[in-house]
Subunit: 201 residues, 2 copies
DNA sequence: CCTAAAAGCAACGTATTGTTGCTTTAGATG
DNA sequence: CATCTAAAGCAACAATACGTTGCTTTTAGG
């Protein structure tokens, strides 16, 4: 990997304008993916929505999949790590609320649009998997300590994750109104009660 | 609505070949929608996959939304009406199994791909809503009788539907393996136990 | 075994997509 | 604050994909 002649690095400059342009392009791309899916993503439209010349889009992302990947991951704060207040139920309610917000966000919607296409595109699949994995591991970690403290019976955490996240996701994508904290509490209540009733204690 | 002059109906013929061609086109369209979403649907590709000349596609469905609508609804047996065996739990397990199958089917996947885009297209939204409504009403009907028999505490059926269908949907779309009857039973157990524990009885 | 509805075929115009050379703008460095 | 140049904008272009049309061939229906 010999450095090429021009290693003088005269002025790489990801400052000000460039950053702004990149950011707007990624925002626009995310929004369009959320709306039209990957197949419907048009560079032209991205440029227009971003209020940027299309050349900038083409030159920065010569291939689509890179653009999609960046759009899906860049704003990826996603769901914040689950706090440990000592009360698993309260913490889960917080988590579900955050999860609902993340799912309803432009980026979250874009992600869901892409899930289907990801089935056959390994590159894409990796990206999608990563986000979901991260959400799951946040949840798993907190559940583990709850189980250790016997707040919960021992239970497969991926199963619990599905039971909690499934209704949230369905509600957010299909529901007529916004997902509220009360909704989060209701889901959490039922699932925890159900788990305790069926898995002893 | 006056009939137009040519009501002689000399020989409309939706028999043999025509039916075959229509069917293959709709199958192909469904599959492509499942993969690429609506935005990515190309008449060209539909024709190729259906092994049919693209003219046939264009002439039968001059506009996209009609094609999409037909693709999404034609094979729409979807989920069968819920049996009433007298045991609500057993019946729900059956239902979830059927729901999982419907969701995993090509048509089910196509439907999910479209949900996001349906947010801004009223025509599309109507189609999607209809399928989900139908599923929900099948469930609601059976739940009502269960509640009357005091097999279940009175509970908002749309909430229960989310609690049951959410995990199924999440599992089917994201899970690594197929959704089994045991999975259906597990979900049903937990939700019913949770409902009973939190809503009295 | 006719008749004509509907499918296939091939060629076409047009819009859209992606590319390139040049000009302009504005961070970075001293 | 002057200068330098990376990177954005612009405009004109080629390649391709999209959708259309006229004609020929197939085949269901009577």
């Amino acid at each position: 990997m010999a450095e090429d002649g021009s290693t003088r690095n005269p002025a790489r400059r990801p400052g000000g304008r460039t950053a702004r342009v990149r950011r707007r392009i990624l925002e626009a791309a995310t929004e369009l993916i959320a709306r039209d899916g990957i197949g419907g993503l048009r560079y032209d439209q991205v440029a227009e929505l971003a209020e940027v010349n299309k050349t900038s889009v083409y030159r920065n992302w010569p291939d689509r999949s890179a653009l999609v990947a960046d759009a899906l991951t860049t704003f990826g704060a996603d769901v914040a790590p689950l706090q440990d207040s000592g009360d698993i139920e309260a913490d889960l309610v917080d988590f579900l609320e955050a999860l609902a917000a993340a799912t309803a966000s432009t980026q979250g919607r874009a992600l869901l649009t892409v899930v289907a296409s990801a089935r056959e595109d390994p590159e894409l699949r990796a990206i999608v998997d990563e986000v979901f994995e991260r959400r799951l591991s946040i949840l798993e970690h907190r559940l583990k300590t709850a189980i250790e403290r016997a707040e919960l019976p021992p239970v497969e955490s991926s199963f619990l994750a599905e039971m909690l996240a499934g209704p949230v996701q369905l509600f957010v994508t299909r529901g007529p109104r916004a997902f509220t904290r009360a909704d989060a509490a209701r889901v959490t209540n039922v699932v925890l009660a159900g788990i305790r009733a069926t898995h002893g204690t």
